[in-house]
């Protein structure tokens, strides 16, 4: 009797937890198929009209492409810079290396709003016009600490002899990094890259404050929301969610599956 109670209680608990996490998403996705003008109950019937509307909306599609480009480019730059910084700090004796590590990771603790305001001031001072480039710069600032931390933590001392062997066989510093170090660390570099992509993809405050005419998807969705609730926002939200899930699935299948094996 007691066993049954515990079992029921734990199932109920698990159900509540998953409900709490996923109910909003489920509701969002459900009402993106709403046959009617309002994304609220009751559910009137199944329709794809709002997806049609999303794909027909030039501005939304442009924002989607912008988001994609900003996420990929800023993540590439953040990974490259993070890798170089990690390599330098893991392999060379640099002055104040503990302090330098701290400085590199510090932006993680600063709120996006503060970073955005700081960047805005700097950009204004230098007379740089706001664009997707400035959004990208902002995203590099927030993702670089993450990329650095992930890549640095995977640079073990056991790699030192392998790099030394490469150098002994005639490789210069660039070739050692490109042909030996980076491929050896590829699982963590890819993990850093994909995490960085998802963060950039979702990011709103920096993208909002540092862009002007061309905007990213979260900013476009926000301006849609200002004109009231609409199943179209549900449809685009579902699409964004689908992309994130796809990235995660790819990560899980290719990277984490691989590291478990070896």
């Amino acid at each position: 009797m007691r066993d049954v109670l515990t079992k029921v209680a734990s199932f109920a608990y698990a159900g509540l937890i998953y409900g709490f996490i996923f109910l909003p998403v489920a509701v969002l996705v459900l009402f993106s198929f709403q046959d009617g003008r309002l994304p609220v109950p009751p559910f009137n019937g199944f329709s794809l009209q709002w997806y049609e509307a999303v794909f027909a909306d030039r501005k939304l599609m442009a924002a989607l492409a912008n988001s994609f480009v900003v996420a990929i480019v800023s993540s590439l730059i953040a990974c490259l810079l993070g890798f170089l910084a990690a390599y330098a700090l893991a392999r060379y004796k640099l002055p104040g290396s503990a302090l330098q590590r701290g400085l590199l990771i510090a932006p993680m603790t600063v709120s996006y709003l503060i970073i955005a305001l700081g960047l805005l001031t700097v950009l204004n001072t230098f007379g740089i016009k706001l664009s997707l480039w400035t959004v990208g710069i902002g995203h590099v600032v927030i993702n670089l600490p993450l990329c650095f931390a992930i890549i640095y933590s995977s640079m073990g001392d056991h790699h030192i002899n392998i790099e030394r062997a490469a150098r002994d066989l005639g490789a210069n510093d660039f070739k050692v990094m490109a042909l030996v170090t980076a491929p050896m660390l590829m699982p963590s570099i890819l993990a850093a890259f994909f995490l960085s992509v998802t963060f950039s993809w979702d990011e709103f405050i920096i993208a909002f404050l540092l862009s002007r005419f061309d905007v990213t998807l979260p900013v476009e969705i926000w301006s849609l929301l200002r004109s009231g609730l609409n199943p179209k926002t549900n449809a685009i939200g579902s699409l964004v969610f689908l992309v994130s899930v796809a990235v995660l699935a790819v990560l899980e299948l290719t990277l984490f599956g691989k590291t478990k094996k070896s």
Partner: protein, 366 residues
């Protein structure tokens, strides 16, 4: 290819620690040299200096007649085989072995063919498309050897390469290393702390201790005619009997010891001719003891001794003996496997004169 190596007065100091203390060494082209010593003796430091991974605080390194003291590893005609193999985990074996050739700008097809040749040399041709994690320790070892040899170095440096293998595999790899070295003719400099391994593979052994070279010569010389007390003790079990030189008579010297006066021929003094009054240490290997009457050639009797303990080792009995004339001395001797050995037994002990080595006594050094 192959080249001679010379080290002139190399000294390496890390802070307050002297890892290498004025070491000079001449290695001939095509030799298999083993640097032997306990951990911290400076053998790995010497190897790093030969490979260019460290530069000496003082002194010079000459390889193939050229001064290499400040030349970086990549520019030296040396390659190093690392203790942990240091294979590239993300590359197939053929790409691991071909890496050095790739760095030298060789085209893909050509270097693949050469890499296959070297994998064949170490018996792994059929595994060319595998990755290192699919191999056993001994196989990784072989790939590391093939990779280091593929760039055709003049000198191959081996940093305790067999340390991680189990005993049986280690013996097998020793034979293979020796055979491969004979085939390619490259000068090998091999670091180890295992004296059996050193004797099994070396043309000449360099015995090192506390940053200095204690002894240098072919394995049989080092074992039979050591030139330092440390070297005698490190190469295998040995009995040390202290004594004092009384006087010299023609071609021999009379040494006063606790087991009686022993007249030793001058060639027993491997380091130099003795002078009267000099303190010496006599070194006698356990297998050199004989029962008086069984020995051949000129022998010296050490008087009677009592067996205080014995154990059967297969090839011999290992016995602890207490000489009657010096009860506080404990001697380890090997008796033939067919011998009748019992505790408390009293034996007349003797040694072939030619088997005794006399070295100047050292105080404060082990």
């Amino acid at each position: 290819m192959t080249a001679p190596v010379s080290v002139h007065n190399a000294t390496k100091i890390f802070g307050a620690f002297t890892a290498l203390d004025d070491v000079s060494l001449d290695i001939e082209a095509g030799e298999f040299i083993v640097l032997l010593g306990p951990s911290g003796c400076g053998k790995t430091t010497l190897l790093s200096i030969l490979g260019g991974f460290q530069s000496p605080t003082k002194g010079r390194v000459v390889i193939g007649g050229k001064d290499m003291t400040s030349v970086p590893p990549a520019k030296r005609p040396t390659t190093t085989m690392f203790q942990d193999y240091a294979l590239f985990p993300h590359m197939k074996l053929r790409d691991n072995v071909g890496f050095g050739l790739r760095m030298r700008g060789m085209a893909k097809a050509e270097r693949d063919e050469k890499a296959l040749g070297f994998l064949d040399l170490v018996g792994l041709k059929t595994s060319a498309d595998k990755k290192p994690h699919e191999l056993s320790g001994g196989q990784r070892q072989r790939v590391a050897l093939a990779r280091a040899l593929a760039v055709d170095p003049d000198v191959l440096l081996l940093d305790e390469p067999l340390g991680a293998l189990d005993l049986k595999l280690r013996r097998q790899m020793q034979d293979e290393l020796k055979a491969i070295q004979k085939r390619v003719g490259t000068t090998f400099v091999h670091v180890t702390h295992d004296q059996e391994e050193a004797m099994a593979i070396a043309d000449r052994i360099v015995v090192m201790n506390q940053g200095r070279i204690e002894d240098f010569g072919p394995p049989a010389d080092i074992y039979m005619r050591p030139r330092s007390v440390f070297s005698a003790g490190f190469m295998g079990e040995v009995n040390f009997i202290p004594g004092t030189v009384k006087h010299r008579v023609d071609a021999s010297a009379l040494v006063d010891t606790s087991v009686g006066d022993i007249a030793l021929p001058l060639k027993s003094f491997t380091v130099g001719a003795p002078s009267p009054g000099q303190k010496v240490t006599l070194c006698i290997r356990p297998e050199h003891f004989r029962r008086a009457g069984e020995a051949e050639g000129p022998v010296v009797s050490l008087g009677d001794a009592t067996i205080t303990g014995s154990a059967f080792f297969g090839t011999h009995y290992r016995c602890h003996l207490k000489p009657s004339s010096a009860p506080d001395l404990s001697i380890v001797a090997h008796m033939p496997q067919s011998a009748d050995v019992a505790d408390g037994q009293i034996l007349p002990l003797a040694v072939n004169l030619a088997d005794i080595v006399a070295l100047p006594a050292q105080s404060g050094r082990s």
